[in-house]
Symmetry: C2
Subunit: 133 residues, 2 copies
């Protein structure tokens, strides 16, 4: 089960300490720069689309199984599968973003809290009602 990077995040967020915990908590716009080999897989994407971006959180600690939620030591430890901690056995990040701009092989999105240089491993549409699929 070997992932390949299909794209990379280009973002003003450089340090983990500066990144918000979730995209809707004040994350800046970021560019997703796609590998030329997968551009066809973007056919149909439009400004305003809501997408789910999956990243590989390459600075995470994969041996962590419990954490204090949101790093708050006053809250009891919880299993990482009940939190969005980047530290987890498979550090896949899940981000809901909105497409702000298309520019050839890259897409500018709103609300992405991933750090600059983070590998992107998949992009999916947000699903609407069953009848609209």
């Amino acid at each position: 089960m070997e992932l390949r990077a299909i794209a990379t995040v280009s973002s003003p967020l450089i340090r983990m300490s500066a990144a918000p915990k979730q995209g809707d908590e004040g994350a800046p716009d970021a560019w997703i720069v796609f590998d030329p080999s997968v551009l066809e897989a973007l056919d149909g994407v439009r400004e305003g689309d809501e997408l789910i971006v999956l990243t590989w959180l390459d600075r995470a600690d994969r041996d962590v199984l419990t954490v204090h939620p949101r790093g708050d030591a006053t809250r009891p430890r919880q299993g990482v599968f009940l939190t969005r901690s980047p530290d987890r056995p498979n550090p896949i990040g899940l981000h809901r973003v909105e497409v702000a701009e298309l520019d050839g092989g890259r897409i500018r999105v709103r609300n992405l809290e991933a750090l600059d240089g983070t590998p992107v491993v998949d992009v999916k549409p947000v699903l609407g009602d069953v009848a609209e699929r």
Copy 2:
């Protein structure tokens, strides 16, 4: 970027032709059977919780970049990043499920359309409003 299976799906769905396209389109209950080494990461999970399960769709074709949405040849081809097709460069499945039952190292969930034997690579909570996190 090497994934490890943290769990495996045990489901009555054996053949791809019998699986619904999405969990909310008639998928059966399934068990997620966790590896003993990650059980601590489930600390806090309760019946009724809504979870996001990420799977590795091991029967997918990773070279596919465009598809007819929902396999319907009357619909124009679209990039796989705008569809939930299992065929995509990194075949990660994204499933929203509800916890129906806890039983030691396994969890019964509703609405999981993954096939029997599918590896599970991550579990995350569905996020509520910012104030509730």
